[in-house]
Symmetry: C2
Subunit: 125 residues, 2 copies
DNA sequence: ACGCTACATCGACAGTTATCGAAACAAGGC
DNA sequence: GCCTTGTTTCGATAACTGTCGATGTAGCGT
């Protein structure tokens, strides 16, 4: 198995605090096919109600992280929760770490900021 | 037919400039099932590369609007373009208006702002 | 070693979605 | 009226996605 995370977003690594993590604001110029593909993957990850709730649960949890046991009460089975968390992880929105029996998930702030920047309106134009 | 837009987001109408259009920031508190359902619909609409490109083309076009003929060059057939535009419209992200032979699409700024707000990080906490 | 708990993966199924070609519809010019 | 151009709708199909139960794996406690 060796969870070598083979599907993390390629543009995640070089993300700093002021570097453009993936794309310019949607309103700035037409997206290329590549940019659209990258950005759509992130939006799609949040395009499911269960995933959105899980993400919100992690993001709003004390300390910015939560173990699966804390957030499993969203009305679907445990395997389904695990499936969705994996999707969020593959989209680069969450990271996970095992500590003893439990696995803790936390949000990736830079990606969240990147998506927010995508949706900014034209300053004044 | 009578295009009585029967599927516009219910929370679109009462949106002002400072009222919460749908949900608090994702990081503020766990989303309810209802909130998640509403917000996920918007994210899902942008979760497709073709739709994202179309949306970006409209949003970045001169005057904030574009006719279908201006944005049909995204690599899919014309019916498919129309299909995606319809989806974006149903999600409340675009509005359309027919002027003579052409149909013009423009972005709904309030919804864009709402999604941006959803993704804001905790101010300082 | 054994069982128990927390979490992940597998395999299958149902529902949804993206895509196309063909056809219908709308507006304008002849 | 009829034809041309632009756009939407229709019907069909292939691919994807969410969901589950069963099973597998990792760590803790006895």
């Amino acid at each position: 198995m060796s969870n070598a995370n083979a599907k993390v977003l390629p543009l995640l690594e070089p993300v700093g605090q002021d570097t453009a993590p993936c794309c310019p604001p949607l309103t700035e110029r037409p997206f290329s096919a590549e940019e659209a593909d990258t950005a759509a993957r992130m939006f799609k990850a949040l395009g499911d109600p269960v995933r959105l709730r899980l993400f919100s649960l992690v993001a709003s949890h004390e300390g910015g992280e939560a173990c699966v046991c804390d957030i499993s009460d969203v009305g679907v089975s445990q395997p389904t929760v695990s499936h969705h968390l994996k999707k969020l992880k593959e989209a680069g929105l969450l990271t996970s770490e095992r500590r003893g029996t439990w696995v803790y998930y936390r949000v990736e702030p830079s990606v969240l900021a990147a998506m927010g920047r995508l949706l900014t309106l034209r300053p004044a134009a």
